[in-house]
């Protein structure tokens, strides 16, 4: 650790904290269909137009089953649409490179990936997809899937805030309003700013350039990067326009753009905690949740940063200077600190954009991004999904420890009953099943072994990372794994779909169950949800569930690798 890094980290968290309340307040207004925002003058007519075109009655609310039904139908239509856009891109416009149809398994993987807000990219961005495929087929989902996540979180929050209510909002209204009042205007602003920093935005074909060093002719891709980058970050999507993602100078040219992109990733998830506290009438609770996220985040950053700064002794033995830390797979202008911070941000939130190769991190440095994802993508998490994932953990934490107050556990005055526990454990079980089940299958299946560029513990880490990233809808990768095989395209797509939509079923069921409940009067006998003790309980629950579940697998991967790096004469 060093002083410039420490200052930057402090300023980053400080600025995030400062922006949380205004962001949250804006969300409060947007997620209330009657809410007034400053954008009303310009946007309200557009909103009304949408309702008229699609025949939506904004005053009509849905119960949880209808809400879930609408969400699933919308997502399924988007999934199918994108699949066909990718398959038919040859016939579609904006394809100056004359790129051919995407293979069926890869098209399925990519469509699932973007529909689920994962943005796992088995395709090579600029080399596989036309501008139309990217800008329409994918960017549509970068907005839509982000709005779906926020809508689901809002539905759950409404469930907690309401008493004896049958409905939890209207999915279509949430979808339209989140896009019109949050994602589109903010992306527009961020895209313009990124443009000012040098992120490109055009529809030109690739440019041929002669390399200065070797004299070889290199094809430099072009395209509408700024617009996609903005929503990539704000919507915790993570799918880069270029294959190198935020390590590419056209996508992330300056330290300032880097800083703002990181902030953009956490902005909405962080603001949602304030929205949550405010909506349930207990802003302190919102901040307690924020604090739990921030502390888990900070701990991860510090470990990752320390590990990366420490460098790799094996390289040092070979005479490669480790004075700047482990620089393998890192963009020189970012270095150990900015790479570690970016990696922590992108995996804490389920973004998945990367500005360094996580595969090349030191074992412990790489363990943090992996563990961040495995904890359930709740450290700020994906837009919306982070909050609803966190609320699931809160319900479990309160149920586990709440009995010790001498009362049936209650959360925000609502008794946690059989159905609620059942839904919450399902929501936690599904990603765990996906990660461990698919990974275990992959490491022993013959087809998968060929995809690994590394054997031994690191290969295991790569597989674990791939399925963790998919099931957690993160989308970043330990890039050593070649995921573009039929096996991985299909299994990863399944992990993404299950990790998103199968989890949403119990989440919205919980919303419905909570909304129906009466509220127990708050007295000094109730569970305290607004202070440091609650924050600690929440952190402990998340860590214990995460650690207990994934420690054995992690021990065989990064942990063994770490000890091998530091103390073994044998290389695996």
């Amino acid at each position: 650790m060093n002083i410039p890094g420490g200052l930057q980290l402090a300023s980053f968290l400080g600025l995030l904290a400062l922006l949380t309340k205004p962001m949250g307040l804006h969300l409060v207004r947007v997620l209330d269909p009657q809410g007034k925002t400053r954008l009303d003058g310009a946007v309200k007519p557009v909103e009304r137009l949408f309702y008229r075109i699609f025949g939506i009655d904004p005053a009509k609310e849905q119960d949880w089953k209808r809400y879930l039904g609408s969400l699933l139908v919308f997502s399924l239509v988007g999934l199918v649409l994108t699949y066909f856009i990718l398959r038919l891109q040859r016939l579609l416009p904006l394809n100056p490179q004359r790129l051919g149809a995407v293979r069926p398994d890869l098209a399925f993987n990519t469509a699932a990936s973007f529909t689920t807000n994962t943005n796992w990219q088995n395709y090579s961005g600029e080399a596989t997809l036309s501008y139309f495929s990217q800008a329409v087929g994918l960017v549509f989902h970068q907005f839509a899937s982000a709005a779906v996540g926020i809508a689901a979180a809002a539905a759950l929050v409404r469930g907690l805030a309401r008493r004896s209510a049958g409905t939890i909002g209207n999915f279509w209204v949430d979808l339209v309003r989140v896009n019109l009042y949050v994602l589109i205007p903010m992306s527009l602003a961020l895209a313009i700013f990124l443009g000012s920093q040098g992120v490109i935005q055009n529809f030109k074909p690739s440019v041929a350039a002669r390399s200065v060093e070797t004299g070889e002719v290199q094809s430099i891709a072009q395209g509408p990067a700024a617009s996609q980058t903005a929503i990539k970050m704000l919507g915790t999507n993570g799918g880069g326009f270029f294959n190198a993602n935020a390590a590419h100078p056209y996508e992330n040219p300056t330290p300032l753009s880097n800083y703002l992109q990181m902030l953009a990733i956490l902005l909405i998830p962080s603001g949602l905690t304030y929205y949550f506290g405010r909506t349930v009438g207990n802003p302190k609770h919102g901040w307690a949740v924020w604090s739990a996220m921030a502390m888990l985040f900070l701990a991860g950053v510090l470990v990752c940063w320390t590990a990366e700064r420490g460098g790799n002794p094996r390289w040092a033995e070979l005479g490669v200077s480790q004075a700047a830390g482990n620089m393998e797979g890192k963009e020189v202008q970012f270095g150990a600190f900015d790479s570690a911070l970016f990696a922590s941000v992108t995996t804490a939130a389920s973004c998945g954009a990367v500005n360094a190769m996580h595969d090349s991190f030191t074992p412990l440095g790489g363990l943090i991004p992996l563990f961040n994802i495995q904890l359930g993508e709740v450290i700020f998490g994906g837009v919306g999904s982070g909050l609803y994932g966190m609320i699931i953990f809160i319900v479990l934490a309160i149920f586990l420890t709440g009995l010790m107050t001498g009362r049936t556990p209650e959360y925000l005055g609502k008794k946690i009953e059989i159905a609620d526990v059942r839904m919450s454990v399902l929501a936690v079980l599904i990603p765990i099943f996906c990660i461990l089940g698919f990974s275990a299958w992959a490491v022993v299946s013959r087809g998968a072994a060929a995809s690994l560029s590394n054997a031994g513990p690191h290969g295991l880490s790569e597989v674990l990372y791939a399925f963790s990233s998919s099931a957690g809808n993160n989308g970043s990768a330990f890039a050593g794994l070649n995921g573009d095989t039929t096996f991985f395209n299909v299994t990863l797509a399944l992990a993404m779909l299950l990790g998103r939509f199968l989890v949403l079923i119990p989440v919205l069921a919980l919303a419905g169950s909570m909304a129906r409940k009466k509220v127990v009067a708050l007295s000094s006998g109730g569970f305290p949800v607004g202070g440091p003790m609650f924050t600690l309980i929440l952190i402990a629950t998340i860590l214990i569930v995460g650690a207990l579940t994934f420690l054995p697998a992690l021990a065989l991967g990064p942990v063994v690798e770490h000890f091998v790096m530091t103390g073994s004469p044998v290389l695996y």
């Binding site: 009995l403 275990a440 202070g531 697998a553 065989l556």
Partner: protein, 673 residues
């Protein structure tokens, strides 16, 4: 029933429980407890492996793992069996009181026939005379009698049961001591109060409470998670070239799934009901005990709960022209034959006016008229003087004339202050008024203070006027009161509190309490109360002590806390077990990870064995805590949570480290592996 509480380690109970522990191995029964069921399957799998492999150098290790896995299951069964055994012992004692009796059934024509009590059916009418055992639960429809209910309550003083009013319920198995009563049977054989009590304390009727079901779901989910973890570990091991032996994987699984709470969950629930029984409260279900923990509003009747049921004489208010000494003397005389506490208090008060203490024998030739509930008067006739003391309307009727307006005023004044006025008369002349006053029970203020600390609000309900009610409420330290309440108002009040999100507990005995008892989340009926009240409530207090609501709430909370504490402890334990087992599993293939063995356990085999042994022994170690319940302190939720988290959360995190290390030292010292 409280006559005998069984010590935790009653040898007979333990012996029987040890046998039952084996009987409970039946997988069909264990299936209801998923955590222990999985443990049993694990034990069975390893046992098969013991038999499948002949010899082999690790054979001894596998045998020991199998042994300790079976022990884990047996210890869990044992805990449950001990809890049940305590209930069964109590049930046996109750059964002794259920003797086969004959009943005198009244036939339609008025003739009486002798039939075995077991043939009685609901709405039969029986006659019971002095010395006979009441053959079935019922309601007195004619007559009044003193009844010895010690078989049920353990209280040796006889109680009065009479037709009409709130003291008409009688319980089968109790004995009539005097007089003769006619009873309408209200329960068929096998459904009587005694039968229900026996099956309750025996735990035969025990159904899982909603909270237990929810917790079981969570524990099952954790079991499933760890199953997935362990099953996926095998392929990961294949990939990494680490052949995980079956015994080690099963050992890790059993250590990780929450066996501690899984094994003790049932025992905690049974013990909760049992603790209620120890306090002479019968909870009709485990659910009622849980609800008691959730209660945050207590509705307390003033009379009998906050104030002594008996009022005491506080002042003599003489009629105009009557010296107070004369009133005191006559009042004393008229009260000599009144054995009620009120009557005695008048005699005591009279002494303060210098009236010499007299006894019945001091006045020869006088005929005393004892107090009775029917006449509501007592008195004495001597030398042609008829001195009486009694309720105003009773006296009015007795003297057959009007009462002077000054006396009428005094009567009203006393009533307005919440007191009870009694009139004293001699012949047709009213001498004055005795002011009987409520006496607030001692120690209540502290108890209500404890409630406040727990976040529970106390509301006093009284028929008194607001002024008196306020005075008594202040004196007793309740949070709130409802004055001039009619019995029906209780129901409305409970509904109002519940609508505001509160959970309400109340006690009651009268028939007009029944709707409120049924509406309350916890309704404690007094055993002396009517059948209707007992049916409506979800608990019966055999001692008929309304203040016991305090204990009821504390036991409910204690049970929930015990459950939560052991759950937290169980899960926190896993961290240390990981540090014992994971390095042991991997160190063979990856010697570099040796530093992870932070407990410096002797060998991989001893590490795994020690974790399994610790995991089994901790169940036994916690049985007393599960049965006795964690110590309860009246604190608010945040303070309770903090305290218990420190003890059971942090303690659960830390304790297994030295625990496993200790077991490992023993294992290595004995060269077990």
């Amino acid at each position: 029933m409280a006559h005998k509480t069984h010590s935790l380690f009653d040898r007979r109970i333990l012996g029987r429980a040890a046998v039952d522990a084996f009987r409970k191995l039946d997988p069909r029964r264990l299936m209801r407890n998923p955590v222990i069921f999985v443990t049993e399957i694990g034990a069975a799998v390893i046992t098969l492996e013991v038999f499948a492999r002949t010899g082999g150098e690790a054979g001894g290790f596998v045998v020991q793992i199998a042994f300790w896995l079976w022990s884990t299951v047996l210890f869990a069964n044992f805990a449950e069996a001990v809890a049940e055994g305590r209930g069964k012992a109590q049930a046996r004692e109750l059964r002794k009181t259920r003797t086969d009796t004959f009943a005198s059934r009244l036939r339609d024509g008025g003739a009486i026939e002798r039939i075995p009590a077991s043939l009685l059916r609901k709405s039969d009418v029986v006659v019971v005379s002095a010395g006979e055992v009441i053959p079935a639960d019922g309601e007195v429809i004619e007559g009044a009698a003193t009844v010895d209910e010690s078989a049920i309550t353990g209280e040796s003083a006889p109680v009065i049961r009479e037709s009409g009013g709130d003291r008409s319920a009688v319980t089968g198995g109790t004995r009539v001591l005097s007089d003769r009563i006619t009873i309408r049977v209200t329960a068929d054989p096998g459904e009587s109060f005694l039968d229900r009590m026996i099956s309750l304390v025996e735990g035969a009727e025990r159904r899982k409470t909603p909270n237990e079901i929810a917790l079981t779901i969570l524990l099952s989910a954790m079991t499933v998670i760890f199953l997935v973890v362990i099953i996926s570990l095998k392929p990961f091991g294949v990939y990494s070239g680490v052949p995980f032996p079956m015994a080690a994987l099963v050992a890790l699984l059993v250590c990780l799934i929450p066996t501690t709470i899984g094994g003790l969950l049932n025992a905690i629930g049974i013990a909760g009901i049992d603790r209620m029984v120890q306090k002479n409260v019968l909870a009709m279900s485990g659910r009622a005990v849980e609800a008691a923990g959730d209660v945050d509003v207590l509705l307390l009747d003033k009379t009998g709960t906050i104030t002594l049921g008996d009022r005491q004489a506080a002042a003599f208010l003489p009629a105009p022209g009557v010296p107070v000494e004369e009133l005191a003397a006559s009042a004393q005389l008229a009260s000599l034959a009144d054995e009620t506490p009120e009557g005695r208090s008048i005699v005591v008060l009279a002494k303060k006016y210098g009236i010499r203490g007299r006894s019945l024998a001091d006045i020869p030739g006088a005929s005393f008229i004892p107090f009775s509930a029917r006449t509501r008067m007592s008195g004495v006739d001597s030398d042609g003087r008829r001195t009486r003391k009694g309720a105003p309307d009773a006296i009015r009727e007795f003297i057959g004339g009007d009462i002077p307006p000054e006396i009428e005023d005094a009567v009203n004044r006393v009533a307005l202050l919440g007191g009870t006025p009694l009139l004293v008369s001699e012949g047709t002349r009213v001498l004055g008024v005795v002011h009987l006053k409520d006496i607030v029970k001692g120690g209540l203020r502290d108890r209500f203070e404890r409630f406040r600390a727990m976040g529970i609000r106390t509301i006093m309900i009284t028929g008194d006027n607001p002024l008196t009610a306020a005075a008594i409420a202040r004196e007793a330290g309740v949070d709130d009161f409802v004055a001039e309440a009619k019995p029906e108002d209780k129901l409305a009040l409970i509904r109002k509190e519940q609508a505001a999100g509160h959970l309400v507990a109340m006690t009651g005995d009268g028939t007009n309490d029944a709707p409120a008892l049924a509406q309350a989340d916890v309704g404690v009926a007094m055993n002396t109360g009517t059948q209707a009240a007992k049916e409506a409530g979800n608990m019966v207090d055999l001692d008929s002590n309304p203040t016991k609501l305090v204990e009821v709430v504390e036991i409910g909370k204690q049970m929930l806390i015990t459950r939560g504490a052991l759950t937290t402890f169980s899960i926190a334990n896993d961290v240390a077990k990981y540090f014992a087992i994971i390095p042991a599993l991997l160190v063979g293939a990856f010697p570099v990870i040796a530093p992870l063995n932070i407990m410096a356990l002797g060998s991989p085999s001893s590490a795994i064995l020690s974790a399994v042994i610790f995991n089994a022994l901790i169940i036994v170690a916690l049985i007393p805590l599960a049965l006795r319940g964690v110590r309860f302190r009246p604190l608010n939720a945040a303070a309770l949570l903090k305290r218990n988290l420190l003890i059971y959360g942090l303690g659960g995190l830390i304790a297994p480290f030295p625990g496993i290390k200790l077991v490992d030292l023993v294992v290595n010292a004995l060269h077990l592996v």
